[in-house]
């Protein structure tokens, strides 16, 4: 049995600080098969595969590649030598270089363009993954860049291909072509294998021979693909809906009590069949229609890369609408998920950070004294722990930074608030505070549109839920199983 396994990981444990990333996980990839590794965001799929590729060291457990145990320290170069190739979700290509330069990158000895050109052409003829060896990577479309990543792995004789969410960046027909190619790859090489990290149930069921499901760092299901259905996979990925979050136990009843009072208020945001393209002009949201009323929280449930970032930014007025009609107030407050990158001037005072809110529209003199008083009042009112309004934003803890950002967003009572992963990286207490602030905003009559990658957080906070799958929005009942299936695209 072991001899026919291309890749075998047994009893893998991995701890990141206080977070248990993987707990006793086993993955057996049979030779000549496509194996789908399924799980929600943060389930541990990528970590497990990074262990198989030598990028992350497991705390415990063994990795066998093609029947040979890889003793620690196991590094990516050893993984490559053993025949493992990995295509990361965010490509590791040098965009200013040509295809052949990228493929030669990392190999030893002299770089001879002619040899590499010939190799690229040969692989193209053999596998159908055709690339112009002289093309600059920055000028290639995303699908060709991905092809380049695969060819790079094949050029190093990869016999086990690991692809991390390969279809997330592709158009539907491109995704179909890639998956079909992966099937041919294993069909033609009975000793080879493919591991497909995905959260798309359909891809897994249609293309994989075997499926392993991870949930919160544990293997919860594994077996031959045809023994699963979309529903059984969705249930395995999302769990039976037991309230594992302490936060959730505390908050669920309050939300339920509130729901009845919603409905009397007017629409603040109305989207009518809107299409949204990302800055690279890829269509991310298709024909989305929904409303957000004053005094309610509408939650968006989606897996990563479904178009939620573009949808939220379009409603916030930061991306233009390609098609359809959007009616939304111009003074919407937006709380982005990446605090440090998008929301704070880390080396400026909290007063200056408050002033940032309308930096684009302000004119004339800055009333620093008034602003400082306002900031100080805000810190007290929203219980932001900072020495005073003049300390730099960097000196605050993550939780207090986020509380400050929310306080700033709500300071001049905006008609609508858009929040994206508002509790990412926060501890339990800070999370509860942020949740309270969001509910207070809702109760004050603000229309709140929320996205969180944590489905339980969406369910805990939202009065109504929009499931977003592959750029298409459906309003769904606030029921864990139904929302889970809708956001995963299961019927």
């Amino acid at each position: 049995m072991t001899a026919s396994l291309a890749l075998s990981l047994r009893g893998i444990h991995k701890q990141f600080g206080a977070v248990r990333a993987l707990h006793d996980v086993t993955l057996a990839v049979r030779a000549g098969t496509v194996h789908a590794l399924l799980g929600e965001n943060g389930a541990g799929k990528s970590t497990l595969m990074r262990i198989a590729f030598g990028l992350v060291r497991a705390d415990r457990g063994t990795v066998d590649v093609l029947g040979t145990t890889c003793a620690p320290p196991f590094t990516p170069s050893m993984a490559i030598a053993a025949g493992v190739g990995m295509v990361h979700q965010h490509f590791s290509l040098v965009s200013a270089m040509t295809v052949s330069e990228n493929i030669a990158l990392g190999s030893q000895g002299r770089y001879d363009p002619a040899t590499v050109h010939a190799q690229v052409r040969r692989i193209g003829e053999r596998t159908g993954l055709v690339l112009d060896p002289n093309a600059r990577v920055s000028e290639l479309p995303v699908s060709a860049q991905q092809r380049c990543e695969i060819v790079k792995a094949l050029a190093r004789d990869a016999r086990i291909l690991i692809l991390d969410e390969p279809t997330a960046v592709l158009a539907p027909d491109e995704a179909q072509a890639l998956l079909a190619w992966l099937r041919t790859f294993v069909a033609e090489h009975p000793s080879h294998a493919v591991v497909l990290i995905t959260h798309k149930l359909r891809d897994a069921l249609a293309m994989a021979d075997d499926i392993t499901v991870l949930r919160r760092g544990e293997r919860v299901a594994a077996g031959v693909a045809h023994t699963f259905t979309e529903a059984s996979l969705a249930d395995a990925m999302l769990g039976p809906g037991e309230r594992t979050h302490a936060v959730q136990q505390e908050v669920m009843p309050r939300v339920d009590a509130h729901t009845d009072s919603v409905g009397a208020h007017h629409n603040v945001i109305t989207a009518d069949a809107i299409d949204v393209r990302d800055p690279r002009n890829v269509l991310r949201v298709r024909g989305a229609s929904f409303t957000v009323r004053a005094g309610e929280i509408v939650g968006v449930a989606a897996v990563e890369g479904s178009g939620q970032h573009e949808l939220l930014r379009a409603v916030a007025g930061m991306l233009s609408i390609a098609n359809g009609r959007l009616s939304a107030p111009s003074d919407i407050a937006f709380v982005p998920e990446d605090r440090h990158r998008d929301a704070l001037l880390l080396d400026a005072s909290l007063t200056e950070n408050l002033a940032l809110r309308d930096a684009g529209t302000r004119s004339g003199r800055m009333e620093w004294r008034t602003l400082a008083t306002r900031t100080a009042a805000l810190l007290t009112k929203r219980d932001v722990r900072a020495r005073d309004a003049q300390v730099n934003a960097r000196t605050l803890s993550g939780g207090n930074q986020q509380k400050f950002i929310l306080a700033r967003a709500l300071d001049d009572a905006p008609p609508a608030l858009i929040v994206e992963n508002p509790t990412r990286g926060l501890d339990f207490r800070a999370t509860a505070d942020v949740h309270d602030a969001l509910r207070d905003a809702r109760d004050a009559g603000i229309a709140v549109l929320l996205y969180s990658s944590d489905l339980d957080e969406v369910l805990a906070l939202a009065d109504r839920v929009l499931a977003l799958h592959n750029g298409v929005v459906h309003e769904v009942p606030r029921d864990r199983a139904i929302v889970g299936r809708a956001m995963l695209g299961a019927a």
Partner: protein, 357 residues
Amino acid sequence: MDTPIAAPSLPVRVAVLRSPLAQAAALTALTLGVLVTLLLATGHDPGVALRALARGAFGSWYAFTSATLVRAVPLALTGLAVALAFRAGLLNIGAEGQLLAGAAATAAVLGAFTSVSAVIALPVALLVGMICGALWAGMAALLRQRFGVLEVISTIMLNYVALYLVGWLVRGPLQEPSRIYPQSEGLARAFQLPTLFTGTRLHVGLVLAVGLSTLAWWWLRSTAGGFRLRTVGMNPSAAFTIGRVNVSRVSVWAFLVSGALAGLAGAVELTGVTYALYESISPGYGYTAIAVALLARLNPLGVLGTAVLFGALQAGGNAMQRDAGVPIALVHVVEAIIILLVIAGDRLPATRAERSA
């Protein structure tokens, strides 16, 4: 665990150096310390050399005004140009080229305006110098916005373009009538900037430098436009996401204003000091400006102080070479070492605090 021990040292350190006077004293002490060390290391008598330096820079009213302050004027204007650009997050290394563009434009205008009254001609010429400096910087801004060319690269390249352009101008269209020397015709007396004190070479450019630095300091601190520029420099992504700031517009304007200030430095140098355009009109003021700005921690008022320090070093360096046989190159080494020390001193406590946090 070492946080409680490490943390208090930082506020104390900053508090000690917060007053401008203390900063100036520390900087002067540092400069002298480095200079003495280097003099000893190269086998010169520090006493003789330092006396020569002091004499050249501050030894007399004439030395202070006509050597030190005359050099400080273009350093302050270009330093201000660099500081404003850096505050907007733009690494404008091209003050030298923008200065040359401004000087060349001013020379061309005044050359054509021979029959116009100086009351009109001089302001117009300075203004055209500013505009040409701004356009020279605008090329880098355009390259950045349209093609993503890094301004660090393009502005350095444009410095050379400007230098060779001036070289061609003073041998071609702007060459003096006798066509012997590679320089433009000397300015008529009426077209020269008035001096501030009779018997010195110090011209009204000093008033412009002090006025504009003060204005820039106030503008950055107290106006919405200045705040907008700072937000773009600190975090363009947050400026756009939270403040809805039009980042590229602010960047382009910052570039143009920076170029205009450097262009003014060239115009003022031409009308106030050299009275003619030639290739070596700037002994690298636009490059020293980067040091002037960094040493002032990009504070426009601080730029005035560091410009005087560097002006004094260069004026004194000349005297030191003449009277004590110390090569002027030593002064450039001192400048470079101070910059490294100040930058390292700024960074080290910060990184240590980050690490222990």
